[in-house]
Symmetry: C2
Subunit: 248 residues, 2 copies
């Protein structure tokens, strides 16, 4: 169990069995035990098990089959609405409609999300985070009837795994850890840190499939293209303002 | 061990013993096993053990004694710099200098941070997140010599606990979880969800100490005042632009 976190794989194929009610509740409780800014719990977890609703959400996640196949989809939201309502009902003027409280809420939300995932995996469930949430957050907000002051940040699909993928590679630890201060990389160090990843069979296969000379270009020319990055950045920032997180 | 996450308390008093090198490394490795957007690992963990440097960081965290007393301070940063360097060295034009990649990097960073904390607690270490990081991120960036494309998001102090505080209360689970869609709260429901917290001894004590009629006003008039919220929001957003996360 001490090596639990080292066994994490994202799961993208699920059996259709539902998650027992008590187990789901335990994972949600574990989420709420994570650290939270000022103990304010500025997030909401929207747990969608209804298949029709998951079918509505699927296009927001580029119709990845797991959104419908997994029994449960958890949309992780920053929520300043609930706390602000409480303040307003107590003659206390809420002042959370600004960027730092989006960030505080996002921190709360993501620590809770990760606790949820760890607890799920302890019990043999599999999870996958859906980064597509940021691309289509406005439409997700509409489907899940999120009020002002609530914005989707990420999504977790969860259920019993129907695959057992290999552990994914990571950069060597010294790539992401700096001791004392940040030590900038030399060009040679960058080459060295990526060497194993670039030499892998998986990379060779990707390069063949994509007809490209190196792995970096798969990221910049195929996976995350500049014009998409800019469009998503603008649309999420617009949504942030519309939803009341940028009155400053 | 299955109930590990349910035992989390933030620790603010630490013994001075250092963390064994191997154990620290295991916690950092656990951090890197968290899910990461496109397996890009868009974060850096700056591990500061040097006391002089921690003394320099302390004012950024309002001189909370734990920053100097704990043997180790981990500044958790969003990092698009390393990945962009790699792309540039491969004739691939990086396009991560925009808001969505700040958010993707923040997500990566916070999932990694929470894994770090869980692994630390498994081994009897204690942790505390420092939200002050957002207030003084520019100064922290200067002290830790963060290059362009790297921005502090949160900080973790970690070490062996010298206190064993009670478990902190949380709102009832139904406050933060919504089934299927978001169901907005009635005023009566808000009252009910906060009832236990408002009736606690701790709240009674806080109201006396602050000479205020209710807990919500402690948040709005004492802890997080509107003008501070706005000033921090503006300064962090300015930093985001300066550090190259908002070219869009």
């Amino acid at each position: 169990m001490k090596r639990m976190l080292f066994k994490h794989r994202s799961i993208r194929k699920f059996r259709s069995n539902p998650i027992p009610e008590e187990l789901l509740r335990e994972c949600l409780e574990a989420a709420t035990r994570a650290s939270t800014c000022g103990n304010m719990q500025l997030y909401s977890l929207v747990v969608t098990r209804d298949r029709t609703l998951r079918e509505q959400l699927a296009p927001c996640h580029f119709n990845q089959p797991m959104v419908v196949e997994a029994p449960c989809v958890v949309t992780v939201c920053v929520d300043i609405h609930r706390f602000s309502m409480w303040c307003s009902q107590r003659e206390a003027a809420p002042a959370y409609d600004n960027f730092v409280w989006f960030l505080n809420g996002a921190t709360d939300a993501l620590l809770a999300a990760q606790n949820f995932c760890v607890q799920a995996e302890i019990h043999g469930l599999g999870i996958c985070y859906l980064g597509t949430t940021l691309y289509t957050a406005g439409e997700i907000a509409r489907i899940l009837t999120l009020p002002q002051g609530v914005i989707p940040l990420t999504t977790i699909v969860v259920g019993y795994p129907d695959e057992s993928p290999e552990l994914t590679d990571r950069l060597p630890l010294e790539a992401v850890v700096h001791y004392e201060k940040y030590t900038d990389y030399t060009a040679a160090e960058i080459d060295e840190l990526w060497a194993e990843k670039e030499a892998s069979e998986q990379t060779t296969r990707l390069l063949e499939e994509n007809g490209l000379p190196n792995l970096a270009q798969i990221f910049t020319l195929r996976r995350y293209v500049r014009e998409d990055n800019l469009a998503i950045s603008r649309s999420y920032f617009t949504l942030l303002k519309e939803r009341g997180f940028f009155n400053q």
